[in-house]
């Protein structure tokens, strides 16, 4: 181990520390007062940016939950998001996750199954081929990230509504929750799940979904921010218990509607 350059060659006599104890303590105390004062001043200046006190955090989360309710009220289940011509579709789509693209672990499509749970009549797991036999829909929609960037993506797959109806899901349940191969739990409200522009995508720009973008199955919604769209979906649950999500548990809005 490297020796610290600040370490004295000779360890000082313990007695000298005792001699200066009152001075040390005074210095410490003065520093503490000064530090406390400047921390207080800084908190005023920056609006409690410094340590994010728990009370402020709790208040902000309460407003965020209230805003989720407002967003649900603003959501019009019959309003369609604008769609775009094929020529505007970005190829390949933009990759984004909580890790780098080099960390993507591809899913084996042949062994893959979509597991079902919760308020569903038929919980039989689904294969890629089973899903492809369902009626398919396409949509060229704008993907909007909470960070501000956006692009036009062309997605194809079965609408989540068709799928929920096929498996006999309770469409009056509150939430549809997803589990993924990259450990990115996510959940949405039933109103959005039933929106015509909410699909379980298996294709992008008329080709099988590529590995970095969620092969074999990902959720794509025209009416929610990018982080609400889980990739590499492996399980789905219909439930009345709030399931939360990866970013939601880190402070982001749950509804995140567009």
């Amino acid at each position: 181990m490297m020796r610290s350059p600040f370490r004295p060659d000779r360890i000082p006599d313990a007695a000298s520390l005792d001699d200066h104890k009152p001075l040390l303590r005074a210095l410490e105390r003065r520093g503490l007062i000064r530090g406390g004062l400047s921390l207080g001043a800084l908190t005023l200046l920056t609006g409690c940016d410094v340590k994010r006190p728990e009370a402020v955090e709790a208040a902000l989360l309460a407003v965020s939950r209230f805003n989720d309710g407002v967003q649900a009220l603003l959501f019009d289940p019959n309003r369609l998001a604008p769609t775009y011509p094929d020529s505007m579709v970005l190829k390949p789509p933009k990759f984004n996750a909580y890790y780098d693209v080099t960390q993507v672990k591809p899913v084996n499509g042949a062994a893959w199954r979509l597991e079902l749970a919760g308020l569903v009549a038929d919980k039989r797991p689904w294969t890629v081929r089973d899903l492809q036999e369902l009626p398919q829909s396409s949509m060229n929609i704008r993907h909007i990230c909470v960070e501000g960037w956006s692009y036009i993506g062309g997605w194809r797959g079965v609408t989540l509504r068709t799928f929920l109806e096929r498996i006999g899901a309770d469409l009056r349940a509150r939430y549809v929750a997803f589990k993924t191969a990259d450990d990115y739990p996510s959940s949405i409200d039933m109103a959005t799940a039933l929106h015509p522009q909410t699909i379980l995508a298996t294709q992008y720009a008329d080709e099988t979904l590529a590995d970095p973008f969620g092969y074999p199955l990902r959720l794509r919604m025209a009416t929610k921010l990018g982080y609400k769209n889980p990739k590499w979906v492996t399980a789905m649950e219909v439930t009345n218990t709030y399931p939360g999500g990866y970013w939601e548990s880190r402070g982001f809005s749950w509804f995140a509607g567009l």
Partner: protein, 217 residues
């Protein structure tokens, strides 16, 4: 706002300050909430910049990362909108906007600009604004309205897709929201600098300022 009493005239005279209590409260609420919106907006902005190379330093940002900047922004928006609506309603209903911000004459603008270039920044009579002041206040009010409109557009671009189209698309709406911020920050810098140069203006926004006649508000 004539109070019902035995001597309404006197009450009215007493109450009429350059900046009535309602204006002062709304001004300072707005000052705080604007600061919240601007600094939390900078925290959101940093994750995907509009101007390449322009980032806001950590000490300027409200919220220690994007999630909390967003939460501050979406909490502050309610106070900004409610306070702003009260201010607009008050300004139009009492005639304050018309009395203080109009008329703007071209000759006055030239006159003020000439004075400013000669470094004559005297603001002897606090109860009247010169033409440039009037224009600046109108620009600031319009920029505040624009921020709410463009903010709604980029918050709910599907629910208000017509508004987004009117603003030239999502990214365009975002850029306009950014420009609106820049206009307000520019206004705030000039406004605060001038208030510090003529401290009586700052004092009057705290205490109400001189009593003025009934025809001036």
């Amino acid at each position: 706002m004539s109070a019902a009493g035995t001597m309404p005239r006197k009450t009215e005279m007493r109450a009429r300050r350059l900046h009535p209590v309602a204006i002062r409260v709304m001004h300072w609420v707005n000052a705080v909430v604007m600061l919240v919106m601007i600094t939390s907006g900078w925290g959101i902005y940093n994750d995907d910049v509009v101007l390449r190379g322009l980032y806001f330093a950590h000490f300027l940002r409200l919220g220690d990362w994007a999630a909390w900047s967003l939460n501050w922004h979406f909490a502050g928006m309610w106070l900004l909108a409610v306070n702003g609506l009260c201010y607009l309603a008050y300004g139009f209903a009492t005639g304050r906007f018309r009395a203080r911000l109009l008329p703007i004459r071209f000759a006055d603008i030239v006159h003020t600009m000439r004075d400013t270039l000669h470094l004559k920044l005297a603001h002897e009579d606090l109860t009247t604004y010169n033409a440039v002041q009037k224009i600046l206040y109108i620009v600031a009010i319009l920029a505040g309205i624009a921020q709410v409109v463009t903010g709604v557009a980029i918050w709910k671009p599907v629910q208000f897709s017509g508004l987004v189209a009117l603003l030239g698309g999502f990214q365009s709406a975002r850029v306009i929201h950014f420009i609106g911020m820049a206009v307000i920050v520019g206004f705030v810098l000039v406004h605060v600098l001038l208030a510090l140069l003529v401290p009586r203006t700052l004092w009057s926004m705290l205490t109400g300022g001189p009593r003025i006649g009934a025809e001036l508000r």
